[in-house]
């Protein structure tokens, strides 16, 4: 669907992402310091948790349930992964990481059922329920971390080792930018992204799910159980947010420390910024990832040092506000979002 909407494409988040990318490629070619090479791999690493979490939000919101609880769901996955890895890494290091991610996914999905139950069965205010999820998650995970692991922190021994992709990494330019120094979790996330796009837009299941977010009674009258679809949507948001949390752990953080520092909320912003579309989300999260990374490393890059750091730091947030202003006139929000059925 929506093949007719191409006319706006050049202002879409995807394209903003592509512009940045092109600019970076250009910089990489021009600059002796390989600025882009210094930034891009880490920007991608930072993007991925946002991407999968926003994708989770996409499932939920496309099925018609607002999910403000992504932050909390990420945290649950973050915690469950950390705990699993902490208890298995000694006996089998090779299996610990994938297992940890899996448990994170499951934990996120289970926890999200609280939100599903409240918003689907009880027709509760979804914003409030989502807020409760966030509060519950941050209180309970830290509580459990304290009682199970002894302190608020759960540290793991080693995350994923970055690898160059054979052959592809040898391609000049693109190869060095995208295929060197990658985490395997990044490819998992990208596969999830591709599969989600396929599921949502190319299958009958996706058609039904999206219809639930637009006009649930039409779906019901077509003989499809709207409750089940919405449970699936919310469950996926929990699972993917859990995955996002797990990826934070095994890529750059290496420890559960009781907070995902607003990344869940940022994912919601990316979901809206990306206009509830997989490509848009990819562009929006990539934008956040890159902008934040630039802000973080600007200190060590002399070319960037001349700009006051506060500019870098507020840049992603200001741009998001501006982008939302620019896109506001044609919001693609699912029509029945937040409405109980």
């Amino acid at each position: 669907m929506n093949d007719k909407r191409k006319k706006y494409i050049f202002t879409s988040p995807l394209w903003i992402g592509i512009y940045i990318l092109l600019a970076l490629v250009l910089l990489a070619l021009l600059s002796m310091n390989h600025l882009a090479r210094l930034i891009l791999p880490y920007a991608i690493a930072y993007t991925i948790p946002l991407l999968v979490t926003a994708l989770g939000g996409l499932y939920s919101e496309r099925s018609g349930v607002t999910n403000l609880g992504l932050e909390g769901l990420m945290l649950v996955g973050y915690f469950a992964s950390a705990l699993t890895i902490r208890f298995t890494e000694q006996s089998s290091y090779a299996l610990a990481l994938p297992l940890g991610l899996l448990v994170g996914v499951i934990a996120g999905a289970i926890f999200s059922m609280l939100h599903a139950f409240a918003s689907i069965n009880l027709k509760a205010d979804q914003v409030i329920s989502g807020t409760a999820i966030n509060m519950l998650a941050s209180a309970i995970t830290v509580y459990l971390a304290r009682t199970i692991a002894g302190s608020g922190n759960v540290r793991i021994m080693l995350g994923i080792i970055r690898k160059d992709i054979p052959v592809l990494s040898k391609i000049p330019g693109i190869g060095t930018l995208f295929f060197t120094q990658t985490y395997w979790s990044t490819w998992v996330a990208l596969i999830v992204w591709g599969a989600s796009w396929f599921l949502l837009y190319k299958t009958s299941f996706g058609l039904r799910l999206r219809a639930c977010g637009e006009h649930p009674s039409a779906v019901a009258s077509a003989g499809v159980n709207v409750y089940k679809m919405r449970y699936f949507g919310v469950g996926m948001s929990g699972a993917l947010a859990g995955l996002g949390g797990g990826i934070i752990l095994i890529t750059y953080s290496g420890e559960f420390n009781g907070t995902v520092a607003g990344l869940g909320f940022l994912s919601i912003a990316a979901l809206i910024f990306g206009q509830w579309k997989p490509l848009g989300i990819l562009g929006a999260t990539f934008f956040f990832g890159t902008a934040t990374t630039i802000a973080n490393v600007s200190q060590v890059i002399p070319q960037l040092g001349i700009i006051p750091p506060v500019i870098f730091k507020v840049f992603p947030y200001v741009v998001t506000l501006l982008a939302l202003v620019a896109f506001s006139k044609r919001s693609a929000a699912p029509k029945a979002i937040g409405e109980p059925f």
């Binding site: 669907m1 929506n2 006009h215 039409a218 009258s221 077509a222 003989g223």
Partner: protein, 506 residues
């Protein structure tokens, strides 16, 4: 004689109301069977039960002689039952194909092309001519209805239910629909038709089941029963189809609209170069099919929508760029189209709702501080005068009132403003006969006081009953304004379809 459908002794209760009380419906194969009943009589409920959306508290359903349990629309669909709902069940930003195949996609991976072909073929077979790849939001209401019909045909439905299919169509589209129905019968299908329009029943139906307040009244043979008789059975008393109304002398123009151009949500022209005058002492009715710019016209006049060009005047004062409040103060009253969305604050008390346009004025408030007792008195007066009934009086939340009482409250509030002109949009939609009569009477009274009324209605009967003059709108244009006494339904119907009689006559 074989019955394709038998619903025997069906009972369905909702909290506080028995929607179906021991109703029996028998439909023969190859017939068009009409169901007639007042608003809230329980027609839609009965059909929802047949379609598997509700489950009966009691009663048996037989399809082709076999007793069945219909637990979901899927079961209904498997039994060959299809339904076109009163409110279309279409996803606006999906394509025609996607809407039709939803729930019956056949396979996990979508094959839009294949489905599109099948739909095209079906559409040609029944003369529906539809573009499978168009988006619903881009096609007309009539076309949307065809999509609903195709949805049933795509599911190989043998028994087709139409719930008030004509209320959104032009007379010409109605004729086409009737033809499509006859085609379907020829193909061996059976049809259940729900409509409030007796002439339609007369024109296509074979038999008619009449229900009142959830109970079966009679099953009649249409050919041998007069319209008046059917109406009387439906309501339980002889029905007077017209409102008593005296001739009035019209005075100065109260509302003037000059060369108005307005865009719709999608930024397309919705009202084109529209001009109209409404004088004191007259009711002008705007006739037209839903979606031809009436809503945009009203919104432009009332200030809810920006005007592209042209001007609006009340009592000779230009209000084109005035705020909504300034227009209210200039003497404009407005009974909005959607009483739930615009008309009332559902989770506030009636008393709050009754001053929602006047709360800032003396005596309801003084220097920004509300005077609650005066407000309550005012609300009580309106409720008394307009017979608004509710559980907790003026403290009831507006959302707890029945539709008719909500509408009476709104009409009361607007009348209490003492406006020089009232714009009444669909003032009786979804109301029962009693409430309709009441509101019609009040509108005519308003006119009789020398004030003006601009009535917008999709019901030709209502327009003819109330209006002194009729303005016909099609695709945002004013086709013509005619004296009610000098025209008839056929002529107005043609104009609603866009035919300019005057020019055609030339």
């Amino acid at each position: 004689m074989s019955h394709v459908i038998e619903m025997l002794n069906i009972r369905k209760e909702f909290p506080g109301i028995v929607a179906n009380d021991d109703i029996t419906l028998q439909v023969e194969k190859g017939e068009i069977h009409a169901i007639l009943g007042e608003n809230g009589a329980g027609k839609s409920t009965l059909m929802s039960i047949l379609f598997g959306l509700y489950h009966p508290d009691r009663g048996i359903i037989k399809v082709r002689g076999k007793e069945v349990r219909i637990a979901s629309p899927n079961d209904a669909s498997d039994l060959g039952i299809g339904m076109v709902h009163q409110h279309f069940q279409l996803v606006q930003n999906f394509s025609v194909t996607e809407n039709i195949i939803l729930g019956k996609e056949g396979g996990f991976v979508l094959n839009r092309k294949e489905a599109g072909k099948k739909i095209k073929a079906l559409s040609e077979q029944y003369g529906l001519s539809i573009n499978p790849s168009a988006l619903i939001e881009d096609i007309t209401v009539g076309m949307q209805q065809r999509v609903e019909i195709l949805k049933m045909l795509y599911r190989d439905a043998e028994i087709l239910i139409f719930d008030e299919p004509t209320s959104v169509l032009t007379p010409q589209e109605i004729d086409e629909l009737m033809q499509i129905m006859r085609n379907m019968i020829k193909e061996g299908k059976s049809i259940i038709l729900i409509t409030h329009k007796l002439n339609e029943i007369k024109s296509v139906a074979d038999r008619c089941t009449i229900i009142r307040k959830g109970k079966l009244v009679a099953v009649v043979d249409v050919a041998s029963t007069s319209q008046a008789k059917m109406a009387a059975m439906m309501v339980g008393r002889p029905v007077n189809f017209t409102v008593a109304k005296e001739e009035m002398h019209t005075g100065a123009p109260i509302l003037e609209v000059k060369n108005l151009n307005v865009q719709n949500v999608k930024k397309l022209p919705a009202v084109k170069d529209f001009s109209l005058q409404v004088h004191s002492g007259e009711i002008v009715g705007i006739a037209g099919v839903d979606g031809n710019g009436q809503s945009e016209l009203v919104e432009a006049i009332t200030g809810l929508r920006a005007i592209v060009s042209g001007s609006v005047w009340i009592n000779g004062k230009e209000i084109t760029n005035s705020s909504i409040r300034e227009r209210n103060e200039a003497g404009l009253g407005h009974i909005p189209e959607d009483r739930q969305k615009r008309g009332l604050v559902m989770n506030s008390s009636l008393s709050t709702n009754m001053v929602i346009k006047e709360y800032y004025r003396e005596p309801f408030s003084h220097r920004g501080v509300l005077n609650q007792s005066v407000i309550d008195e005012h609300a009580q007066d309106i409720c008394d005068a307009f017979d608004v009934r509710s559980g907790e009086g003026i403290f009831s939340h507006a959302g707890k009132l029945s539709g008719g009482n909500q509408q009476k409250a709104i009409v009361g509030r607007e009348m209490a403003l003492g406006p020089d002109i009232i714009i009444a949009v669909q003032p009786t939609r979804g109301l029962d006969v009693g409430a309709i009569e009441y509101i019609h009477k009040r509108l005519v009274e308003h006119r009789d006081k020398g004030k003006a009324v601009l009535l917008v209605s999709f019901e030709l009967d209502e327009v003819f009953n109330l209006s002194d003059r009729i303005a016909v709108m099609n695709s945002g244009e004013l086709i013509d304004i005619v004296q009610t006494s000098a025209t008839n339904e056929e002529e107005v119907g043609l104009m609603m379809a866009g035919v300019k009689i005057k020019e055609a006559a030339l």
